[in-house]
Structures are given as structure tokens and as C-alpha cells.
């Protein structure tokens, strides 16, 4: 059970949150211009790496805000949290 530091409410139990998968996948501005393959790239392709991963979480049982999390999936340590629209911390690649 993670402890997640909601950038708005502070540290809370994981049960207050829901996970939203990989972060920084921007919805294409003009989907109609995309080929099937390009759209599939947006729609289906996710990284799922062992190591440092950028994820989206929603404080669904708290402030209802979505935010980003940097998590090392090899040990589940959350290295950083930051708000939507903010740039990912540069020290994680």
C-alpha cells in the first residue's frame, strides 16, 4: 500500500487514489489527420518499464485532482509528484 503525496492534500494512503496509467501521452490535437497506425500509437502503446516510470494518479477520494507521479517500478518508490501541466523533474529520465 503506497503512501502518495498528493500535491494538493499531502500524504495519503493509496486507497484514496486511483491510477491512470502512463503520463505525458498527449491526446493528438487533430486526430482526424492521423493514420490508423499513428492513432494506434496514441491509443494502445504504453511503456510498462522496469525502472523509472511516469504515471498519472487521481486523488479520487480526496480533492479529485489528477497529478503526475515518478515511480521506480523496480522497488515501488515514488520519487516525485508534480501537478498536471508541470514539466517532469529533469533529474529522472
Amino acid at each position: 500500500m503506497f503512501l502518495i503525496n498528493c500535491p494538493f492534500c499531502g500524504e495519503r494512503d493509496q486507497s484514496e487514489f486511483s491510477s491512470g496509467g502512463e503520463a505525458h501521452i498527449v491526446r493528438p490535437k487533430q486526430p482526424t489527420e492521423l493514420s490508423d497506425d499513428e492513432w494506434a500509437e496514441y491509443l494502445f502503446m504504453r511503456k510498462n518499464i522496469k525502472g523509472i516510470q511516469f504515471e498519472r494518479w487521481n486523488h479520487v477520494h480526496g480533492c479529485r485532482k489528477w497529478f503526475n507521479v515518478v515511480r521506480d517500478t523496480s522497488n515501488d518508490k515514488i520519487l516525485s509528484v508534480y501537478k498536471m501541466g508541470e514539466k517532469p523533474p529533469v533529474n529522472y529520465k
Binding site: F8, C9, G10, R12, D13, H61, C63, R64
Partner: protein, 182 residues
């Protein structure tokens, strides 16, 4: 006259826990972001919306709870300020300064007080009440027995618990049951 049907929540007192239904409380959800919104709200309610997470502000008429950076809940007794919702809606929603929503019947307010209330809540909530219980005025949204709640530390060992009406009887029964085992 249309009758009001309250959820089946009666007064219970055991193990230094007092559980009561707070009837006739108006609750209004307030959303907004810009400066004008804050000024307007401040003027209408004579209160500054709390900007600090997990806090509240109060005056003799209202309690306002922080819910998120752009969301608050104000609550007060029904017999006071009967027109405040209409005024807020007119001065905020109607001119697109933000959003005002009446949620008076959405949420039921259960008042719990007594020395052991944080023990009780901790039976079903992963929230760390350490800071909360030492600071009157704290507010938080969390889970109690898997149900979403808003908690307001009104005065020492006296908490207003807001829960959706549909869940309220179930949560109340759980609170009563769990207070047996403190």
C-alpha cells in the same frame, strides 16, 4: 406540506462517543479560480475562502471547508441566511465567475463527538488523524469504511462528518457497531 424524511440516524452514546444527525444544514458547493471570484465570494459571505489545504474558515454565519484548490463547501443552519444560495448563484454562476451548486440533500451531516471519536474513525479510515485532532478547524476528505466522507473538526473532539445521503444509513450503522469495540 411535503414531509421531510431524514435518514434513519438516531442519537447514540457509548464509550465516550456521541453520534447525532445534524438536521437542516444547508451545504453549497463553490467552484472558482479567478481573482474576481474570490473578491465576490468574500463580499457575499464576509469570509475569506481558505487557501490552505485541509483547513476551514468560519464566522458566526458560515463554515467554509477547503476541498481542493478550486473547490470549497460552505455549510450553515437552514434557518439562517435562507437566500444565500440564490444570491451566490446569481452573482457567481449566472455571470460565469464560477460554479455554485446546492448540495444540501446530497450530503448528510452526522455529528460525532467525544474523547474516542478518532479511535472510532481509525477503525475504518487510513487517514492519519494525528495533526487533524490537534487542530480545531481541520478539514479533510477521506474514506471511512470504504465510503467517501468530508470531515470537519468543529471544536475539540467534535467532528462534523458529511456523507452522501445514499450511504448515510449504512455508514451510521457501521459507526454505531464499531463504537462498541473501542
Amino acid at each position: 406540506m411535503l414531509d421531510i424524511l431524514h435518514p434513519k440516524i438516531s442519537n447514540i452514546n457509548k464509550n465516550n462517543i456521541d453520534i447525532n444527525l445534524s438536521e437542516e444544514i444547508i451545504k453549497i458547493n463553490i467552484r472558482g479560480k479567478n481573482k474576481e471570484f474570490f473578491t465576490k465570494i468574500g463580499k457575499i459571505l464576509s469570509i475569506i475562502l481558505p487557501s490552505e489545504p485541509n483547513t476551514s474558515s468560519s464566522n458566526e454565519s458560515y463554515d467554509v471547508l477547503w476541498l481542493s484548490p478550486d473547490e470549497w463547501m460552505i455549510y450553515f443552519e437552514e434557518n439562517k441566511n435562507t437566500n444565500i444560495f440564490d444570491q451566490l448563484y446569481k452573482d457567481i454562476s449566472s455571470i460565469n465567475l464560477g460554479s455554485i451548486t446546492d448540495i444540501s440533500s446530497q450530503l448528510i451531516c452526522i455529528n460525532i463527538k467525544g474523547e474516542n471519536i478518532f479511535e472510532l474513525l481509525s477503525s475504518g479510515s487510513p487517514f492519519n488523524f494525528e495533526k487533524f485532532k490537534n487542530n480545531v478547524g481541520s478539514s479533510t476528505q477521506t474514506l471511512v469504511n470504504h465510503i467517501d466522507v468530508i470531515l470537519h473538526h468543529k471544536s475539540k473532539n467534535n467532528v462534523n462528518l458529511f456523507v452522501r445521503r445514499s450511504f448515510s444509513e449504512h455508514l451510521y450503522e457501521w459507526l454505531v457497531d464499531s463504537s462498541n469495540f473501542i
